[in-house]
Point group: C2
Chain length 227, copies 2
Amino acid sequence: MHVFYEPRIAETLALSNEEAKHAVNVLRMQNGDVLYVNDGSGNLFQARIVESHPKKVTLEIVERVQTKTAPRRVRIAVALTRQADRLEWFVEKATEFGVRDITLLVTHNTGRHKVNVDRLNKIAIAALKQSGNVFLPIISQPTPYKTFIHQADASLKLLCTAADDCDVKSVVAQHMNVIALVGPEGDFTAEEMKLAVDNGFVPVNLGPYRLRTETAAIAAACALSLM
Amino acid sequence: MHVFYEPRIAETLALSNEEAKHAVNVLRMQNGDVLYVNDGSGNLFQARIVESHPKKVTLEIVERVQTKTAPRRVRIAVALTRQADRLEWFVEKATEFGVRDITLLVTHNTGRHKVNVDRLNKIAIAALKQSGNVFLPIISQPTPYKTFIHQADASLKLLCTAADDCDVKSVVAQHMNVIALVGPEGDFTAEEMKLAVDNGFVPVNLGPYRLRTETAAIAAACALSLM
């Protein structure tokens, strides 16, 4: 089962440059071959190749495949990690868990302020095709902490912190739209924590030990996917 | 707070070569300085340096620090991944989540049969010191699937599979000693699944999408740490 990503498939009925090249030059697909197209917005289509060219593969839709959907809309707001590969791993895992939005935060203790969002998007697309998830996470540009806190909107907002005694499982049930906020190495400052709590974030822990930034973000994604 | 790892601290009252070198040459610690020693078997000690030398640091114990313990004993039995770094990430995350035992499995669809367990142990020790967990996971050498299935013993044994409709959260409560079995890329064969079920493993899913081997293993570790 070969899955391709094409966000505008429903309009264009075609695979674009890179995906077309992969289908024709690498997989040697031909007219009449059947493939699957994920549009990253909730749809998976079974389609048949009408015309194959390495620069454009024209398709006809056979059917819209019924897909499972994640039961809860989850946004993970995570501070930038010092090492880029740790954030890349998180994006891959978050996509597998069905996280819908990823906000990259710049906090007081964040070591860097820049990130290659294009590269993160490519990692998310690869994970999307592999995992069978049909919602490509929307990844933000780095966002100042205060800006995010003031605009964050969900039925439950979690401030993930090792310091708190409240278990995540005790608060998530019934909430279908959840934000989890995860701090940087060196954690949030006391002021940043207060700002979050003043804006309705509920402090919860993610287990008994100190988790690295990307581990806490993965734990939040996993817990909110499974609980 | 500087934390060192020394499994025999209670007998030797000293840091061994590598840790001693780090304390004296890198951190420039001196007689009278206070540090923490994690023995990986459930204990964290506060200690004071009596004699510092780059090859041996002699200590006196100040006190045994009260530590949180993971509420459940978890073993993750995971098929070897094709790429070594994916398994290394899992070991780091599993240590942060407090997993007690890691069994590396060779199954029908496992791409490789060898792994550098020494390297995995070093990664686990680094994660142990960083996370505040005091139980170093015991990592097995690669083990044939059948051998493991026949000797696996716990109050709950989970067969993690995307195919099943049973949620992990519906079965774990109350069980304090749990094994989670995670298959390779290409999944277990039908025979391997039957063997597990025949030996008391309960099939459960870890969410709606297909998870990579190391993601499923991390998800199991996280779920069993938080639920």
